[in-house]
Subunit: 389 residues, 2 copies
């Protein structure tokens, strides 16, 4: 590993700033508290970073009051780790305890809000999930009928849309690691290598180059193109004339990159070359349009206008990129439905895709930060012509 790592974790001031902005937005909506339970939100307010979320057994809660510091309501197994964060008030129970998995602790916090018929923000909107048993949430609601559990999705989006420079440094670092790994592809991939081995060797190279983990690696390969981009690897051996795509969401200190690269094995067919050139041009159009004040719809249209010359279908991916950070994909979407205004400090992907030939698709992807003026590329720009390896 040769790349210098950014500092892990964050200064305390980062969390203080997140909290202050949250409480300002909460005041604007007269919210008495936020009740958050998914990994990115718990981590955003506490810094609590663990792979233990892989276990679906235990719910975890963070309570953000209108004033004062957040409170963690968590399983006892997480107390030691949570005590290393900036939080003071950590309340635990011996989870799992199905009869009362945190509910009595939550009820204690919610009691005063029930008395004043207050509002508590939870996440109910697009791209969110309820990370506690629905039956437990229904019990909580039923026992506190005076509380308005209102949707705070828009508030959380506003809060996390623009990344801090410390966050951007982590995303930039993992993008550099993935770029370096892709740049070594010619030495890693070879004809006859089954896709299972291609994927395995790429994962190992990412780790060797400094990634903490590689939670997302999808792709495909086939003669003259690939048909989908979310598959696990088949045993298909790479063959001359294949187009190979790998798309990775690797992670450093809890922050993702998310981009792909396309390769032609030994030689490239004309249709794939043309598709590649079109997507390269679409990305250039996206980069030119990625300015503060433009919208995600505007970004979509800039890329779409290039692609429409070759492919009149809407594409299977549903959008041409998205937000990026603590999650592989975050709000907003580069799509016709999304009129989010671009702001300096937003980290997004540009991900134009197209159908071509018979049932083949191609996807390009780059990761960028919106800056005043031209955007900053976090991924090393893909080659201008389809690379042959």
């Amino acid at each position: 590993m040769t790349l210098e790592e950014p500092r892990r974790g964050f200064e305390r001031s980062e969390f203080e700033s997140r909290l202050a902005r949250a409480q300002q937005l909460m005041a604007g909506q007269s919210l008495d508290a936020l009740l958050l339970m998914s990994e990115p939100q718990v981590r955003y307010f506490t810094g609590f970073l663990t792979q233990f979320w892989q276990s679906p057994t235990r719910p975890w809660f963070v309570w953000v009051p209108a004033t004062g510091k957040p409170i963690a309501i968590i399983p006892e197994i997480g107390a030691t780790l949570m005590r290393r964060t900036w939080l003071d008030d950590i309340r635990t129970w011996p989870a799992p305890r199905p009869a009362d998995d945190g509910l009595s602790l939550l009820t204690e916090l919610l009691g005063p809000i029930q008395d004043r018929k207050g509002s508590v923000g939870i996440l109910k909107g697009h791209e969110t999930q309820l990370r506690m048993p629905l039956a437990d949430f229904e019990r909580l609601q039923a026992s506190l009928p005076a509380i308005d559990f209102t949707d705070a999705t828009a508030l959380l989006r506003k809060l996390t849309l623009v990344k801090s420079e410390a966050e951007i440094a982590k995303i930039a670092h993992i993008c550099t690691i993935a770029s370096k790994t892709f740049s070594q592809s010619a030495g890693v991939f070879h004809t006859g290598q089954p896709l299972t081995e291609v994927f395995r060797d790429f994962r190992i190279a990412c780790l060797q180059n400094g990634a903490d983990e590689v939670p997302y690696l999808v792709g495909g390969a086939g003669p003259g193109g690939y048909a989908d981009i979310i598959s696990p690897p088949s045993s298909h051996p790479l063959a001359a004339g294949d187009i190979l795509v790998l798309d990775t969401g690797s992670v450093f200190d809890g922050y993702f990159c998310d981009f792909d690269r396309n390769f032609a094995i030994t030689s490239a067919d004309d249709a794939s070359r043309r598709a590649y050139a079109t997507l390269y041009e679409a990305t250039e159009a996206g980069l030119a349009a990625a300015r503060p004040g433009n919208t995600c719809r505007g970004l979509y249209q800039a890329m779409r206008s290039v692609i429409a010359k070759q492919d009149s279908s809407a594409g299977e991916v549903g959008r041409y990129g998205h937000g990026l950070g603590m999650q592989l994909t975050e709000w907003p979407s580069n799509a016709a439905f999304d009129d989010t205004v671009l702001e300096a400090g937003m980290v997004i992907t540009l991900e134009p895709s197209m159908n071509y030939a018979n049932g083949r698709i191609m996807v390009h992807e780059e990761n960028i930060v919106i800056r005043d003026g031209a955007p900053q590329l976090l991924s090393s720009r893909a080659a201008q012509e389809l690379p042959v390896i």
Copy 2:
């Protein structure tokens, strides 16, 4: 990679059998359908395996009717992969489409059940989450007020409790890979090595030994013991006298192992040796008690009675093991609250833990299959005495 891999995927008969058993249980509860949306359930009924679930943006649904084959209601981006499964009826929409992310397709399926005031099973219970926006679920309920959305958690538990031999073969394979990797530890770990590197090297070795991915790797190290077992690695360099624990949930073909190993670096202190011996003995007691007809509570008590001789606290982990399969942790729990009866074909972990000395904990873990008679160890049994490396 030297280990021979079991066949990837499943025979069609596996899915037919799952469906038949589900529909039998559904009939017993007069359920008109199941509406499932989380990764393990979608995969259980379809075989749909992808890391695309890392993206929280799009909801995915599988509909299991009272008779006939399951129906997939999924984003268009997944159609190509879903068409390779045994399903015939695949309905898609161009997700993301926040205004209607699958709801109109669901409403079409639910319409006839609304007309007859029927019941649809969803997962609302312990260890489940609603993997669609809560606001969308509330809209769906409000638009179909005659439907009883009832909790099918118990049904799904019963269905997935006993694993097929094909499933067991996958879990056994990943356990063998992790066991092999742990057995190489003496050659991988050394004093002065920062924990970040210990974790990275272990991950790489797991992949080199044949794991598809290593989504879960936690652990810790410290002089004379460690204080928690869910942390990511610190920069602490391994030092003489450290006790190191690594706990991995590695994956082969979508199935997890979940076990740990403890090591003393250069030399072991007496307290840690004694704790290790106690937990080894507790696991032996668990193995002796792991017989069809006994309960998870009985397993807990068998291990507890050994541990109580040294540690009177209840332990921070909350239980002494759990189910294992498509998820890192599954129902049931080896805990005082769980009276699940053990059956041949259940795959579980034995995970006794204890507090000792000042704030140190130790955890042991093995993975087993309940068989008629003695259980089958899937992990290679830990050394009888704390290994010094």
